[in-house]
């Protein structure tokens, strides 16, 4: 009983009470308070339909996608302490991350986590389709979800270049050359050869979408830096914003879907 007494005493201190404004969540009032009063938990509704908490209905894939995104953010920030995005150092830093750093599995967690996030995103979408959860009033949120799916793939794609090995550079070369083939906007795409005024070429390899992506005509050091910024800062910020919209709309559109 001593332990119980101690826990009660801690609960009665001013410090504890200043952090947790309610008693233990064992009655209706406190269960509502713990969810509504906590900045992280208040993403959830206080009560929800039983079908919405069943794994057989939700597969938990959306939640896992968000969790893996957080895990990737943390492991990614840790990787940034040791990684320099230059052609000279990048590859060696990747090796150092395995050989010279304690817990040399941080890159593995980040890489496999990225794959896992792609998988959970796809399966989340699959589930949402199978239960018809894109139907009104959730049409807009389905669209936000599709954009998040594209951004997830882009995050993974931009991260693919960073190890600066053969796998990376050729996958990105192939990918970037598809940008070259964009109609009218890439110099190798349909219509680009028509955009010419006399001898002056409007769309060339120096001003098309591929050049914007790579900051050059082929995958080199400027591309590495550009992909690094896109991967670590730009796309995560956009994704974070859209995740907020996505979650907000899940709540505003009536929570996890259920038969009308």
């Amino acid at each position: 009983m001593a332990a119980k007494g101690l826990a009660d005493k801690v609960r009665e201190t001013q410090v504890w009470k200043s952090i947790f404004r309610h008693g233990p969540p064992d009655n209706a009032r406190n269960r509502a308070a713990v969810v509504a009063g906590n900045v992280f938990l208040h993403l959830h509704p206080i009560k929800l339909k039983k079908s919405g908490v069943q794994l057989g209905y939700t597969w938990c894939m959306g939640g896992l996608t968000f969790f893996i995104f957080l895990a990737l953010t943390v492991s990614g920030v840790l990787l940034m302490f040791y990684y320099r995005p230059t052609a000279e150092y990048a590859f060696n830093d990747i090796i150092a991350l395995r050989e010279h750093v304690p817990l040399g599995i941080m890159r593995e967690i980040h890489r496999w986590g990225a794959h896992a996030m792609v998988i959970t995103t796809w399966l989340h979408m699959f589930r949402v389709f199978m239960t018809g959860s894109y139907k009104p009033p959730r049409e807009f949120n389905w669209g936000v979800g599709v954009i998040l799916l594209v951004l997830t793939l882009l995050l993974s794609f931009t991260g693919y270049l960073l190890p600066w090995d053969q796998l990376a550079i050729w996958a990105i070369t192939v990918g970037a050359n598809m940008a070259k083939a964009t109609p009218f906007l890439g110099h190798g795409g349909p219509g680009a050869s028509l955009a010419q005024i006399g001898d002056f070429v409007l769309v060339s390899d120096k001003n098309d979408v591929r050049f914007q992506l790579l900051a050059g005509r082929f995958v080199g050091e400027p591309a590495l830096l550009r992909f690094y910024i896109l991967h670590c800062v730009f796309i995560p910020l956009v994704v974070g914003t859209l995740i907020a919209v996505h979650f907000w709309r899940v709540r505003k559109d009536g929570g996890i879907s259920a038969p009308l």
């Binding site: 896992a116 018809g132 669209g143 993974s156 053969q166 795409g189």
Partner: protein
């Protein structure tokens, strides 16, 4: 036996087989979605998978580090597809009996507290995912090849696995179609789904009988055109992006007699027995007309059919035409594949002068 499987696995044969399997699965989903079927399927699949993995050539491909996520994906997609068919089969039977879907029973409509019902589920899911990720990270090293060398491309040079479906499309289409237009159509099409599909039924529960068009269309795109092509791109494409059966050794000097012919060459040289005309638009006139007919003439034609009229009545003209155009764009991939296999057709429209090849 292995020879036979190598022979069957070639997309020329395996793609129709997959389509037939897909048709059977969707048509008889109540049989496929039964527990008995799952046990029988597992009893067949597990020994087959072990037998496949026992082959040294296939095993070499299987354990490439970047292929592990695909195996996980395949297991999950397989199971979850069965699972959703299972749930849909149960619901559809209940709906037929007038009971309504399982998710709509009073017991399931009852509201429960978020704490502890949901937060603890989430906590367990997080713990499970974390431990899974850590074990995976310890067991398998992340792939790392030689340092980047811009003057020498590895053979085969593959995109990340989730883009292998797109890379497989590159065999049949030019980059501007396979890499830009069709992925763009996929994204736009996905976003458009809720605005095209006005069927009020099937909102919030598993069902197939109540929304057949949506189910057949989406599942075909997802399972056959996306997942199947990823499997082909991962396991069946070797050096020089030529086809290799699952048990075939990746011989870098495998010679494949492949000579593809443009539609314009068919028309002028084979059928009309004349030289190719100088003017490029005259040269490609047949392909241009066919493509335009496919995209512009076909939608109104389908609208005049009995089925088209029925759908227009339900969803309206605008939605119907958007739906048909998206569907035609999606079907352009299998159509081009079949044309390639049957006639070695390279391009329907070949205008390399304008970089416009279809």
């Amino acid at each position: 036996m292995r020879e036979l499987i190598n022979w069957i696995a070639d997309p020329i044969r395996s793609f129709p087989i997959v389509c037939v399997l897909f048709y059977l699965m969707m048509k008889y989903y109540r049989v496929v979605g039964s527990k008995k079927f799952l046990y029988v399927a597992l009893a067949v699949i597990i020994p087959t998978a072990v037998w496949f993995a026992a082959d040294p050539n296939f095993f070499t491909i299987l354990i490439l580090p970047d292929n592990i996520p695909i195996i996980i994906l395949l297991v999950l997609v397989g199971y979850l597809t069965w699972f959703s068919l299972h749930k849909a089969a149960i619901n559809d039977e209940r709906i037929e009996q007038g009971l309504g879907p399982v998710e709509g029973t009073p017991e399931n409509r009852e509201k429960v507290w978020c704490w502890p019902n949901l937060v603890y589920t989430e906590l367990f899911a997080i713990i499970a995912a974390t431990s899974f990720l850590i074990v995976w990270a310890i067991l398998f090293k992340a792939p790392l090849e030689e340092p980047a060398n811009p003057t020498w491309a590895p053979n085969p040079a593959k995109a990340p696995w989730y883009f292998l479906g797109l890379q497989e499309m590159l065999v049949y289409f030019d980059p501007w179609m396979a890499g830009v237009v069709l992925p763009g159509v996929v994204v736009v099409g996905l976003i458009a789904i809720p605005y095209i599909d006005t069927n009020p039924k099937g909102n919030g529960y598993y069902t197939i009988a109540e929304r057949p068009v949506a189910q057949w269309g989406f599942q075909f795109g997802w399972l056959v055109l996306w997942i199947y092509l990823i499997i082909v791109g991962t396991f069946l494409r070797g050096p020089n992006w030529t086809f290799y059966g699952p048990f075939e050794y990746w011989d870098y000097h495998k010679v494949v007699a492949e000579y593809n012919v443009n539609l314009s060459e068919f028309m002028w040289i084979k059928w009309l027995n004349t030289a190719m005309p100088e003017n490029m638009f005259v040269r490609e006139i047949l392909g241009i007309l066919l493509s335009l007919a496919y995209m512009i003439v076909l939608p109104p034609l389908t609208a005049a059919t009995k089925y088209g009229k029925m759908m227009i009545e339900k969803v309206g003209q605008m939605r119907y035409y958007i739906f048909v155009v998206l569907l035609l764009l999606m079907m352009s991939l299998p159509i081009k594949m079949v044309l390639r296999w049957l006639f070695s057709l390279k391009y329907i429209v070949a205008l390399p002068e304008l970089e416009l090849n279809l």
